[in-house]
């Protein structure tokens, strides 16, 4: 599996590198070679060479730094998308793939405009912050997931969310739904990081990435006792049935 880790040195707010560690370890334990390539501003890569495109969250300043560079890669992103590269987008990465971002002063900042959802800023003192639990429905599977959300942006016009919110906010204040999903893309505000405590999402990301080069993928089960225990502690605390 070939992972392209975008702007690893800029879009690395709180623990997103944990997602990469999980993907690599879960591949290697199954004997699947996993190669990670980092790509930052100005680096020459063909995204289409990769099975998975990973873009994490960054602080506002870092996000503004990468945007121009990301925009230059739009054609390349669309080509890779056409050729079945899959995408995992967290927080800022999620927002940037939408139509636009409306900041506090009402300025409209264009996004990559690959998907029709858009994000409106909320005022500084109101952010969606806290633990979050979802019921995820993806690739014919339904299961619980946990994470931590911390975003001011309110993402709207999401036709196909990643999951239903069981505890927390989601895309908008008390919005009921979180993230965006289609056959190749998983986009979410969930940090935590996302993948360690949600091994089923991790395996779906791996399966989708491998699907670029091969069909009929089955992943051997791994011992997820610790993963599920950590998830269970949080679900119990949030009074969500397991």
């Amino acid at each position: 599996m070939k992972i392209l880790w975008m702007y690893h040195n800029l879009m690395d707010l709180y623990g997103d590198k944990g997602n990469i560690m999980v993907l690599k370890t879960r591949c290697e334990k199954r004997g699947i070679p996993c190669e990670i390539t980092t790509c930052t501003i100005g680096d020459q890569v063909d995204i289409d060479d990769y099975d998975l495109f990973f873009l994490g969250g960054g602080a506002d300043h870092e996000q503004s730094l990468i945007f121009e560079d990301l925009l230059k890669r739009k054609e390349n992103i669309l080509k890779a998308y056409e050729n079945k590269t899959s995408f995992l987008l967290i927080c800022g990465g999620y927002q940037l793939f939408g139509a636009y971002y409306l900041d506090q002063d009402g300025n409209k900042i264009e996004g990559l405009n690959i998907f029709p959802y858009y994000t409106e800023s909320s005022d500084r003192d109101h952010r969606c912050i806290g633990n979050i639990a979802l019921e995820v429905s993806i690739d014919q599977e339904t299961f619980k997931a946990v994470g931590f959300e911390n975003h001011g942006g309110q993402t709207k016009n999401v036709a196909t969310p990643l999951g239903k919110v069981l505890y927390g906010h989601g895309n908008t204040f008390d919005g009921g739904y979180e993230g965006f999903v289609n056959e190749q893309v998983i986009a979410t505000y969930m940090h935590g990081p996302l993948l360690p405590k949600n091994p089923r999402i991790a395996d779906i990301v791996i399966k989708r990435a491998l699907a670029k080069r091969s069909s009929d993928i089955t992943l051997e089960p791994l011992d997820d006792t610790l993963e599920l225990k950590a998830q269970e502690v949080m679900l119990k605390r949030l009074k969500v049935s397991i």
């Binding site: 800029l10 709180y14 602080a59 506002d60 300043h61 806290g130």
Partner: protein
């Protein structure tokens, strides 16, 4: 007679008799008069100390060093750095006309609220230690913290004593129009490195946005940096630590040898801040040496308890702090066990994802036999260690009492890392098991 001040002092006396105290008097004072903080007539010299790490130690060292000059100095030595704690300090040291009975006030202030304290406390000096990535859910982005501080320091007419080796702190100097700026810096030494995997924020020139070039890193993003286009980073420090001798725990400044209370790079920075305060206020910096030599750290910082074998407890709260503590643990060559207590209460921050930014792979060494994970997020910690191939060494005991008991029963030297809300309860557990 001033009813509020009098009442607060009486309340403090009564509370102290019962072994209580803390910041309850300040709570009472604020209940009686919510504007009380703006009413105090502050001493001639008011030194505020802020930053992410090292605030409590640095402000205590500054206060102690200034006491050596014979001045009457008050300070909030326990690190109660919010409104309530600061009010307690001032109310207990105020006369009935709100005059503070001291020559100098040294006040540790929370970095998130310091910008609001300027109008109340009328500082003459602001000391900023460093800015690291901290609990995001509580603190928000570091950028917001820096910008808010710069809004008040832009027209500040006092002294700014700043860590010149922190690109995030140096921005305050660039932006200040009226202040007298004094920087401190530490020269290349045995722990300085050319490359690092620790730096997070502050990688770019704030003027042109180009990546900063580092001659060396000391720890995290602290080091000697410069903008490739010459916009930023050329400094002329007021205090420069020439050399550090880690074998003897000494360092030199201006041809004088000082003794450090702990043998670690971040403590040298704390000492450098103190020396700069002494110099800039016109006192003899060498008076501080005695303070450095005999300083006893705050509870839960390098504190050792005699269990079946010695057990050292340390606070950890963000990736930089965790990395530095781990560097010290791995220096210990004998077999040992480690216990990590990870809580996610309000003061710890609810978001524990920062543990994925800290370098726990450092604990993957043969002399560390077991790592006990405890606290409200014990399983998150265990999972983090699993990803450093430490699964076989990990034991989960959610209840801290069981974790400490287990540690004691192993008859092996041990190290405990505890987040803020776990620190005091764990100290109590350790104290209880201590052999006399």
């Amino acid at each position: 007679m001033n009813p509020t001040i009098t009442f607060v002092k009486i309340a403090h006396q009564i509370l102290s008799k019962f072994g209580r105290g803390g910041s309850l008097p300040g709570q009472i004072a604020l209940k009686m008069d919510k504007n009380i903080l703006s009413k105090f007539k502050m001493p001639k010299e008011v030194i505020l100390v802020t930053g992410t790490n090292g605030k409590t130690t640095t402000s205590n060292l500054i206060a102690e060093a200034l006491r050596k000059t014979g001045k009457k100095v008050i300070n909030n030595h326990r690190g109660d750095n919010l409104n309530v704690g600061i009010t307690t300090l001032l109310a207990l040291n105020a006369k009935s006309d709100y005059t503070i009975d001291a020559d100098i006030a040294v006040i540790e202030v929370d970095e998130l609220t310091v910008y609001r304290q300027f109008k109340n406390l009328h500082p003459t000096t602001l000391v900023v230690t460093n800015f690291f990535r901290d609990q995001l859910d509580r603190a928000g982005e570091m950028e917001t913290i820096i910008r808010r501080i710069m809004e008040v320091t832009e027209d500040f007419e006092g002294r700014l004593i700043l860590n010149g080796d922190d690109p995030n702190v140096l921005r305050i100097a660039e932006n200040a129009k009226k202040a007298k700026v004094a920087l401190y810096s530490v020269g290349k030494n045995a722990v300085s490195v050319k490359e690092t995997d620790e730096a997070s924020e502050g990688k770019f020139c704030p003027i042109c946005g180009q990546p900063l070039h580092y001659e060396y890193y000391q720890y995290s993003h602290i080091g000697r940096f410069e903008c490739p286009n010459d916009h930023y980073g050329k400094i002329n420090p007021s205090v420069y630590i020439d050399s550090i001798d880690y074998d003897n725990a000494t360092f030199t400044y201006n041809n004088h040898t000082y003794h450090s209370y702990i043998n670690a790079i971040y403590t040298i920075y704390n000492c450098a801040a103190v020396l700069t305060v002494m110099k800039e206020l016109g006192y003899d910096p060498t008076l501080a040496d005695d303070v450095f030599q005999h300083y006893v750290l705050k509870e839960g910082r390098h504190e050792t308890f005699m269990l079946s074998k010695p057990c050292e407890i340390n606070l950890f709260k963000n990736p930089t702090g965790a990395n530095e503590v781990m560097k010290e643990i791995v220096k210990y060559k004998g077999d040992n066990n480690v216990c990590i207590l990870l809580n996610d209460n309000d003061q710890d921050g609810h978001d524990v994802s920062w543990i994925w930014d800290a370098h726990f792979e450092r604990l993957n060494i043969p002399q560390i036999k077991h790592i006990v994970c405890s606290g409200t997020r014990a399983y998150d910690m265990a999972l983090r260690l699993k990803y450093e191939s430490l699964e076989d060494k990990v034991i989960v005991k959610e209840d801290p009492k069981e974790a400490i008991q287990w540690l004691d029963e192993q008859n092996l030297d041990s190290f405990v890392l505890a987040t803020y809300t776990a620190l005091h309860s764990t100290r109590a557990l350790l104290k209880k098991r201590e052999r006399k």
